[in-house]
Amino acid sequence: MRDVAIIGVKNTSFGEQWDRSFRDVVVEAGVGAVGDAGVVGEKIDSMFVGNMSGGQFVEQEHIGALIADYSGLSKDIHVPSTRVEAACASGGLALRQGIYAVASGMDDIVIAAGAEKMTDVPSPKASSALAAAADREWEGIMGATFPGLYAMIARLHMHKYGTTSEQLAEVAVKNHHNGQHNPIAQYKSQITVESVLKSIMVADPLHIFDCSPITDGASAVVLAPADVAHEYTDTPIYVKATAQASDTIALHDRRDITTLDASVAAGKRAYEMAKMKPKDIDLVEVHDCFTIAEICAIEDLGFAKKGEGGIVTQNGETEIGARIPVNTSGGLKSCGHPVGATGVKQAVEIVEQLRGEAGKRQVDGAEVGMTHNVGGSGATAVVHIFSRDR
């Protein structure tokens, strides 16, 4: 198996982009990443695109071909393009498929992208589309919503470990703080614990400010064999681990409602592949679709003991400059959550950090970063570890 490097990255701006279509945002991300890598279309061997639900959000399937076409990669050169879907983990999984393609030796230059255009439908329709990531037959039919499922995780976490609404709110406050320095972030406004607790209740105990928003956006990276990466860039970022795990589709079937066993398993596989431990990670982008999800993630990935995610957050240990900076991009909460793009956006953030290009949100001396992307309430987890050193 060959070592793989990221040689180019691009995020579009994230937010409500009324004036731009699905294909507009994807092409911007893809062209930007290819430009950053300095490769030409003829060099591209394949592309993988994470997209959760073009069918429901823009009534468009056959996303792979569409994107290849509008990126100018279909005419004459006929670059193969594959759509990858794992709900909100679609982006992370597209990246993983791209890494497979390069690592296997089948392809050399590969684009891994992710995209979602969520604001072309009314928000109840968007929520309904997202609910399809849970078990429609046995959760959705009873009136379950995504905030509702994560609220049930939060409720039990509070009951078992004494986690508080204030601790949940601290996740949102920190992520908005980080997001203000991210040019692509959907929300650069600052919030306080009080404003989170005063915001309307969506699914008790989760307020609207505990929830990530509905977002349009796309992200892309260009992958290459590590042996040739220096031909394209002075600062290739190496893929040290790619890992994925599955768990039950329904929350009610989990071994422990407050642990995402898929995150634990994917994290363990990633640490083994990279021959690293949590203490070796300088920063991590975790899947904070809801504030409770970040608390579970830092526990499940070994950055906090089980049950102490809330306290660790409240103590400031996950801020930039502290023990383990979490979600320097602003996370899904502040940066936004175009579901198919998020997993790739996380990788773009880590690459920018490891290159030292993250501006005011830069983690000093960052050498190793991790991404953690979750599908549904935890039925899929994808974890990657990236490093400046091969």
């Binding site: 429609r136 046995w138 039919i141 009873m142 409720r155 969506v202 699914a203 008790d204 929350l251």
Partner: protein
């Protein structure tokens, strides 16, 4: 609103109405929602239908204020994970004043309307839960 297409709902009607799940005779594991493949012994499993008593307790719950599509008229409603006495857990609504619901509370099943496909459309029924001590309702 459409919760689910008629044939899709109808296929699992007995399971939804009467809490009929499955049981693996080999592993002695119970499944609700029903599974036809035992995750314990997979192809070796011997699966049979099993009707659950419906007695259980609340593992966790939430009060939903922003409803799922089709449930807008029901807010706020209590959604919970119920652990049945035979072992498996399921997601359902708990019909109870939200302030009286607590983790560990004993519940029993009731046959209730889940929703309706438009004014003249099909009515969906299923199993919801109420506190065992009915004064908590």
């Amino acid at each position: 609103m459409i919760i689910m297409s008629v044939p899709r709902f109808w296929r699992k009607q007995i399971a939804r109405y009467n809490l009929v799940g499955t049981h693996c005779k080999k592993c002695d594991e119970y499944f609700y929602p029903p599974r036809n493949m035992c995750p314990g012994c997979r192809r070796e499993g011997e699966i049979e239908d099993f009707k659950f008593s419906g007695n259980g307790e609340v593992v966790t719950f939430t009060v939903i204020h922003t409803a799922a599509e089709g449930f807008e008229g029901q807010t706020p409603y209590v959604l919970g994970i119920i652990k049945l006495e035979e072992g498996p857990s399921l997601t359902s609504q708990i019909i109870c004043d939200a302030k009286n619901v607590e983790i560990g509370m004993k519940v029993r099943p009731v046959f209730r309307k889940l929703g309706q496909a438009g004014e003249r459309g099909m009515i969906y029924y299923g199993t919801k839960f109420v506190p065992e001590e009915s004064e908590k309702c």
